[in-house]
Structure formats: structure tokens, C-alpha cells
């Protein structure tokens, strides 16, 4: 069972205080989008073996959503950061590259 630090209230808590929300940084495609765009938004997920970015909500705590960068193999947590971002912040990316020199970077 993971521990995560909520960047919104500063609490480090066990996984049971949080609820998971799937892959982070998805772009919403609404009316007017092509079938491919809509499919990508709704159904296509990276599900990587390794570095992953995901959404979490501090459901039993402050109620806020945040994002986490995590390795799905080792369960190492590289960091958590605000949900109000379009891509991982530079310091998180740098930390991941430090730990996983072969990582191709966020795309």
C-alpha cells in the first residue's frame, strides 16, 4: 500500500486516504473532435511499465485532486504536484531522469 504526499494540504498519508483517478494530463476532446481524438481521450491509455503520471484525490483529507509521478515497477514516487498543470513540472522531470537515465521523457 502506497504512501503519497498531498501537495494541497501537505499531509503524507497512506493510500486508503486517497482515491485514484487514472492517467494524468489527458486532453479533453468534446464536440467537433474526430473519432480518433475522442477515442484517444476516452479510451487510449499509456499503461506503462515504468514511469507513469497519474491523478489522485485526497478523498478523506482536503478533497483536492493532485498529480503524482510514479514508477509502476518499483513503486518509487518521484513527486506529487498540482493538478492545474498541462505537463509535469521541470523539477519532477529532472528527478525522473536522474533515477531513470534511459527514460524518453514526457510526451
Amino acid at each position: 500500500m502506497l504512501t503519497l504526499t498531498c501537495p494541497c494540504c501537505g499531509v503524507t498519508a497512506e493510500e486508503t486516504e486517497f482515491s485514484p483517478g487514472g492517467e494524468a494530463h489527458l486532453k479533453r476532446f468534446g464536440p467537433g473532435s474526430s473519432d480518433q481524438e475522442y477515442e484517444a481521450y476516452m479510451f487510449n491509455r499509456k499503461n506503462p511499465r515504468g514511469v507513469h503520471f497519474e491523478r489522485w484525490r485526497h478523498a478523506y483529507g482536503c478533497g483536492k485532486w493532485f498529480l503524482a509521478a510514479r514508477c509502476t515497477m518499483t513503486l518509487e514516487v518521484f513527486g506529487t504536484y498540482a493538478a492545474q498543470t498541462l505537463e509535469p513540472p521541470a523539477e519532477i522531470v529532472a528527478k525522473i531522469k536522474d533515477r531513470h537515465p534511459g527514460w524518453e521523457g514526457y510526451s
Binding site: C8, V11, E14, E17, A59, Y60, C62, G63, K64
Partner: protein, 188 residues
């Protein structure tokens, strides 16, 4: 009016290795807005005499308290019969601000836990490290299967707030946690 009003579990109490008492009616106001805004802080000070609490802290002025609930939410506590008027006053003072005031005095149940081993009882139901908890700290967490806010409201005293509908569950849970003979001797 008093015979028309009931808290969630009037008079419920239990004396275990920690005492558990339903705290009765308590005025509560949810205030959402930009907590770093000087306007908000000014209104809080003017209307209730309260300082803006820091992250996960509770401030006090007389019988009024302001508890930090999330980066954009406070829970204001005051005597029950003052809550309606205070909510109106705050809403009026914050007109024009992006802020929301709601009287939630009836939405919750409040329990007072008292005893030197209060954290030993809470450690059975909350996944929280209480070792550094100080008076005036508040922590929102999980108590067994429901959400709760824990506030160190005095020496050997914790005020626990949960939703009104689960008051009976919470009371039964706290009684089990404080049952004599089950002291885990962890913090106390």
C-alpha cells in the same frame, strides 16, 4: 425553539479509557475562497475576531474558531444560535468577492474525546501519526470507514467532527476503540 432542535445523538456518552461525549449543537459555517486574500482575512477578523489559520491549524477568538480544511476552505465554529446571522453577515461583507458562505450547522456531528490516552484510542481507527500533534492542529482523515476531522482542542482532548448521518456509527466505533482493557500503550 429548543424542543424543536436536536443534535445528532443527544446526550450520548461513554467512559472508557478515554471518555467519549457527543458535544451537542455547534454552529458551523463553511467559508470557501482565496485564503491568502487580505479581504477575506479582514472580514474574518472584523466579523468574528479570528485570525486566518495556517495550513491544518485552528485559530480561536473567545467562543469562535476557524479551522483550515483545505487550501480554499475554512470551517468556522461558533455557538449554534449565532450561526445563521453570522453567515448572513459574512456573506454581506464578502459581496463582490469570489467567496462562498454556507451555514452547515446541522450537517455534522461533533464528539469530544478526553483522556491522556486519547491518541491511543484514535490510533485504532485513523491511519495517522499522532506523535507530533499539538494543540490547535487539525487533520482530516479516515476513521475506520468514514471521513472525519480531528482537532486537538485542549490538553488530552480531541474534538472529532463527522457527518451527521454516521453519528451512531462513529459513536459505536469510538466506544469500541476506547473499551477498557484494550489500551495499546502506544502514545500514552
Amino acid at each position: 425553539m429548543s424542543d424543536m432542535l436536536n443534535s445528532a445523538l443527544p446526550g450520548a456518552g461513554f467512559a472508557g479509557f478515554v471518555t467519549v461525549n457527543e458535544a451537542g449543537l455547534r454552529g458551523m459555517i463553511t467559508l470557501r475562497g482565496d485564503l491568502s486574500s487580505p479581504v477575506l482575512a479582514g472580514v474574518l477578523k472584523d466579523a468574528m475576531g479570528l485570525d486566518m489559520p495556517a495550513q491544518r491549524r485552528v485559530t480561536q477568538a473567545g467562543t469562535a474558531f476557524a479551522a483550515w480544511m483545505s487550501p480554499d476552505e475554512l470551517l468556522l465554529m461558533l455557538p449554534y444560535d449565532q450561526a445563521g446571522a453570522m453567515a448572513q453577515k459574512l456573506a454581506g461583507a464578502l459581496a463582490g468577492e469570489f467567496a462562498t458562505v454556507a451555514n452547515v450547522s446541522d450537517a455534522r456531528a461533533v464528539f469530544t474525546l478526553q483522556g491522556a490516552a486519547v491518541f491511543d484510542a484514535l490510533a485504532k481507527i485513523c491511519p495517522v501519526d499522532f506523535s507530533d500533534f499539538a494543540e490547535g492542529d487539525i487533520r482530516r482523515t479516515r476513521a475506520a470507514q468514514v471521513a472525519a476531522a480531528l482537532w486537538v482542542s485542549g490538553a488530552d482532548q480531541v474534538t472529532l467532527v463527522c457527518f451527521r448521518s454516521v453519528a451512531q456509527y462513529m459513536f459505536d466505533l469510538l466506544c469500541a476503540a476506547a473499551a477498557p482493557g484494550s489500551e495499546p500503550a502506544l502514545y500514552a
